[in-house]
Amino acid sequence: MDNQQIEKVVIIGSGPAGLAASIYSARGSLNPLVIAGRGAGGQLMLTTDVDDFPGFPEGIQGPELMEKMRKQAERFDTRFINEDVVSVNFKDTPFEIQTETMKIKAQSVIIATGASARWLEIPSEQKLRGHGVSACAVCDGFFFKNKNVIVVGGGDTALREAQHLSKICSKVTVVHRKDSFRAQAALVNLLKSKENVVFLMNKEIDEVLGEDKVTGVRLNDTKTSEKSEMSIDGVFIAIGHKPNTEFLKGHLDLDEHNYIVVKNEIYSSVDGVFIAGDVADYIYRQAATAAGSGVKAALTIENYLEHKK
């Protein structure tokens, strides 16, 4: 389907960055079109308790928070397309965006496609994925009730996963390749207080063991290179994220880890294409910071379109 209408602003992504941008663009009378994607809602759809988003004194569940943001965007007549973007053309204006079934033209674009979980990318992990190896404790914890599991990683995500699993599993071992955590101190302390959570520092996964399902792991000591094995029922990988920028290669400047290169947080290498959230942020990666940059991008576009006239 070809849509000949030229949109003022198209927002790609519907996590906190994309939805905050759409709320502001809609209220700024830019009538935004959001290409929400098949993974609508983003990483918070895979999170349970969110205790650090301002305005929710009792905390809120990730999916519920995203539903509220989307409803708020809908209240101001944001339009949504629930498809993925397949390709873009940013060479000339109007820009062109090809989704699964539509070609869309736009005067300006906000890219807020976020990031997804990263894997270790060793063959034994990929072979046993779905057979004891998982990257989503919220999804799969249920299948490990009263079992013995490990969580690999040292950031907020890893410790949140461990927190969730500690309520379901008999024992949770957090395996981290460094000797200290990058995660928030509050999370680390909370987990240290749990009886069924233990920490294995300076260790990394050398191999996931098992034929049809996970039976154990072989660990490598990052200081001494000494190998050891432990039996385990499940392995949850939480070693960070990779930005969702595959469709942008060759169209925008990306850094060596494929994050979008930005100036002043929201400006991409192409005039008229703005950036918001985790797709360019490997430092803060918070719902609130993503929303903040979405707001900045939306307000900047108002000004940008005004001057283009």
Partner: protein, 110 residues
């Protein structure tokens, strides 16, 4: 509203999946699983598109734990492909609609 996709349960699985004359696609899901919500509408679309050729439906692993356990489901969403009572393929984790279509077309041509 008419729904083309079927609901599979511990009770109807043997008759509706294993003894089905047509190939059957089963989407294992649960309410707390975010990526399952990505797959769910795709499954509904596919059920319409392949109606009459393939039986496509969902099994709630939270309510129907027995079949999921027997089939060794340890991660959701998992989409399994059955033909003549045998599991011949499975896709683990949320994938794009094209991946599911490709896998269904393979089942149909095999």
């Amino acid at each position: 509203m008419y729904m083309a996709d079927k609901t599979f349960t511990d009770q109807n699985f043997a008759a509706d999946v294993l003894e089905s004359k047509m190939p059957v696609i089963v989407d294992f899901w649960a309410s707390w699983c975010g990526p399952c919500k990505i797959v769910s509408p795709i499954i509904e679309e596919l059920a319409k598109e392949y109606e009459g050729k393939v039986v496509i439906g969902k099994l709630n692993t939270e309510e129907h734990t027995q079949i999921a356990g027997e089939l060794g489901v340890m991660s959701i969403p998992t989409v399994m492909f059955f033909k003549n009572g045998k599991r011949i393929n499975q896709l683990i984790g949320a994938q794009g609609k094209d991946s599911y279509k490709k896998a269904i077309d393979e089942v149909l041509t095999k």
